[in-house]
Amino acid sequence: MSGKMNRRSFLKVMGWSGAGVALTGCDMPTTVTLEEGKEEVMSYLMPEEYVIPGVGVWYASTCTQCAAGCGIHGRVREGRVLKLEGNPDSAVSNGKLCMMGQAGVQGHYNPDRISTPMMRSGGSLTPVSWDKALAMLEEKLGAVSGNRFAWFTGTVSGHQSALLTNHLDAMGSTNHYAHEVVNNAVSRAVNQDMLGEANPRLRLDKAKMIVSFGADFMGASQSPVQYSVQYAKFRTNKERGLLVQIESKMSLTGGSADLWLAIKPGTEAVLALGMANLLLNKIKLSDAGIPSDVRTLINSYDISKVAKITGVAGDRIQRVTQLLTERSPSLVLAGASVEGQTQGYATTAAIMMLNHILGNVGKTIESAGDFPFPQLMAKQGGTADLVAFAEAAKAKKLDTVIFHGSNPVYTAPESLGLTEAMANIGFKVAISQFPDETTMAADLVLPMSSYLEDWGTQVPADQAESSAIQVQQPLMEKLNAETKGFGDILLTLLKQRKKEEYGQFEDYYAYLRNAFVAMPTSVKNDAQSNDEFWNAALQTGVIKVDVGAKDLQSTVVSFAAPVVDDSAGLTLMPSPRLGLFDGRHANLPWLQEAPDQISKVVWDSWAEMHPDTAAKMGIENLGLVKVSSVQGSVTLRVVLLKGMHADAVAIPLGQGHEAYGRYAKGLGINPLHILDAATDDKTGELAMYSTRVTVKRVGPPDSLSIVRMGTGAGDSQVGRKLVGTVPVEQVRRTEGT
């Protein structure tokens, strides 16, 4: 039989591939050779030369679903990217990928993507040509002067970041607002002051014990995959790591804790000081490097007092503290719920101080070294910039703003008055992929290519063992030709300003290649030629960067004494979650349909409360409640979980979009809107976890899209061995770990 494939055998193949899971159609070299494929099987006649019909090829790139910058592999077949997986060469992702990264393809193929530039005329956005849009842009940017122009972005890094900075310079402006709801800005500040580094390397894998104050490092954190991988090592080490989670709302990480302690919201600082007290005064660790005022502060918190304030049992505190000294090196972490307090800085400092006392610095907290390309380093977002931006807008200090990679209209609390203030901004440009709230409020919308169609580099803020630049390359042709990559748009903007300087680059690809080629030999290491280096970079998807070794010294800064808010009501915890994250993934059906890890709710918003608290208020599980703060109120269903402190009510982020496409629009509510505008007095970051609310029952229980469908089933194993649990001693004996 010749290589030619006659119609019958072709049909046979089709029939087989149709025949369910037992067979796998075209991936069978045994039934379809490439020759046959090209001639008969492929739907289009002349495939691109890099397309091997019927065979999936993996290309390396970088994930931008969150700021972590995981290296990914994308499976490309017949010119379409089908599946994303972690890139083993990337130290950040270690060949793994979280649910958000997996769902990246759905953002890429999303039916609600913006396909053409749009300009606001007569109140509504109407499609225009790129030329018109760019002409408009050039005119407006030409008109604006200095600081009346601003960029508003999420976390940006790599060469895009560099270009963006250059554009700001070209515009003579210094206003770059970088906004992320899920951020560790306060920790960065504390680290900067205590360690001299904002983003030291955390080595969970080296720790024998982790005490986490609400740090959801495996969930909605700065680098979930990296820390999950480290967690796995931490657990499987010779001496199994011990995880103690202290928080007011059980997070994904808390779900895996050996000991989960509920603490009264806002009293973490007190607990930290109490533990410090035990360490210094009882266990007699050295108090070197601790300022006297802090020392006296510590002394004033004896265990009984601490137990009373925090609601954590005294013996528990003592035991945990004791273990911290026994299981050295340990690691104490502070998370969003700690940072996001009116005293966020002080609290975080108090917690980081424990690392200092326990001598973890340098062991489980390492220096990130000196990154050779400061201009490429991540400009990390926070909420302080959001506040500042709102102020500036209100004060009519801004004429033209370009928005990208952030959705302030959705994420800003009403109390900031941003929505109204937006009107004060004369010309708002949105470089965006989806019709989200901010984009809908813009005057000019530039359709952006998805990260799977675009060139770029990412420099993760939280670098893993080995620092690297993550390379991002297109995995397929643009879905619609009208979209432009972010880098290309930046380049165009710069060409408008500095033709002479950037005219040489035909497009961002050219610029990037040039930039790579220009890299020092230290980075290129043994690459023979520029082409080889370039190809190697594209193949591996990472450019390893030697940052040199550096050891870390810590000093304790003095911080304010904790003030405990005992006013009536409950503390609202607007908790982000792996999945919808800060709401940016609400338009990805896979993530909408993936149940929340703790409460198992899908496709909806809900409030989490402790059953006892609810009982006092006469609220039943799945009942309809009204959560009101000074700023406003939201009505939603309640899910009673014991993984809550009695004084807290949690409303996960992500839902409540007024725009953002068919999957996100009109689902649930957005807790961010009812937050107070209170900020951390030191860093100016929004105190997102300090809003006091009251909860009122407004309706009877009703169905909610909970996996267990509200029957109460699925909560308990009813004595059946589905998940067995054994004490660690037994495992030590049997497995010697």
Binding site: S256, L261, E593, P595
Partner: protein, 280 residues
């Protein structure tokens, strides 16, 4: 002629699970899932959606229990008597256990679900008439039925371009379930066949195992003595075959390995390792 076929192979054809049944297995794919590492993060589940063309059913249908998540994460609260779950939650990744003596198989009226030489419990969509008996007889409740046609609602233009061409999109009236990513197995087997070698351990990785950030899921061939899975099964003294045999095989009952509902004698291919907690 099938008559002398019967006479010649009578004794073969009369073999039940106790004697290993009538199978010349090429592989016996299996898993070992370390529940101590599972953080319930949903990565596996989402990866499964991406790999296997699983339909997104939407709020209402999900609410009425018609979701299609082949790989679902179950979350249980132990220590319910306490005020707070002090040892966190118990997460259980639950997918088709590819039982050696699968209860779903003998009840299918049209032989749409059967046992492959790979030891997989295959579902032939084309043959299924949707009597749903298999799902009723599955103690794990991991078989999912296409109650509706989803190909319009779940993959609106251009979403359908993401669909994996290696497997079909199922239409209404058909039962479906986890296949241990049979398309991946198939690809690797064919590759090995072309290169005239046997499949190497770690060559086949299911989507869930691949994605799992904590590497809690290990996938492999229990017929390959040196495969990671075989070693783990051996280490925890979990054996293939039905309960009566394995019960006595397990010398040290403190070992963490166990198979869910093993007492039903269905010989699941997934071994779970118990969650570990330290009391402090």
């Amino acid at each position: 002629m099938s008559l002398d076929n019967i006479l010649n192979h009578w004794s073969d054809y009369r073999k039940g699970a106790e004697e290993g049944g009538h199978h010349e297995y090429e592989h016996r794919w299996a898993m070992a899932i370390n529940l101590d590492l599972c953080t319930g993060c949903n990565a596996c589940s989402t990866a499964c959606y991406a790999e296997n063309n699983l339909a997104v059913v939407g709020k209402e249908k999900f609410e009425s229990g018609q979701a299609m998540h082949w790989m679902r994460i179950e979350r249980y609260w132990d220590q319910q008597e306490l005020e707070h779950p002090e040892q966190g939650a118990s997460f259980l990744p639950m997918m088709c256990q590819q039982c050696g003596a699968a209860t779903c198989e003998p009840v299918c009226p049209v032989a749409a679900t059967y046992h492959t030489p790979d030891g997989l419990n295959a579902q032939v969509y084309n043959r299924c008439i949707g009597s749903r008996y298999c799902s009723n007889n599955c103690p794990f409740r991991v078989r999912y039925f296409n109650f509706y046609s989803y190909y319009e609602s779940s993959w609106p233009e251009p979403m359908e371009q993401q669909l994996n061409p290696d497997i079909t999109v199922r239409d209404k009236g058909v039962m479906e379930k986890c296949t241990f990513c049979v398309q991946r197995i198939r690809t690797v087997k064919d590759k090995a066949f072309m290169e005239d070698r046997s499949v190497k351990d770690g060559e086949v990785v299911t989507a869930c195992a691949q994605a799992c950030p904590t590497s809690a899921i290990v996938f492999g061939d229990t017929m390959d003595e040196n495969s990671m899975v075989s070693k783990l099964w051996k280490k925890h003294q979990v054996e293939r075959g039905i309960y009566q045999k394995t019960k006595y095989a397990k010398k040290d009952t403190d070992l963490r390995g166990y198979r869910i509902f093993e007492e039903l004698n269905i010989d699941p291919s997934v071994m779970y390792l118990e969650r570990v907690r330290e009391d402090i």
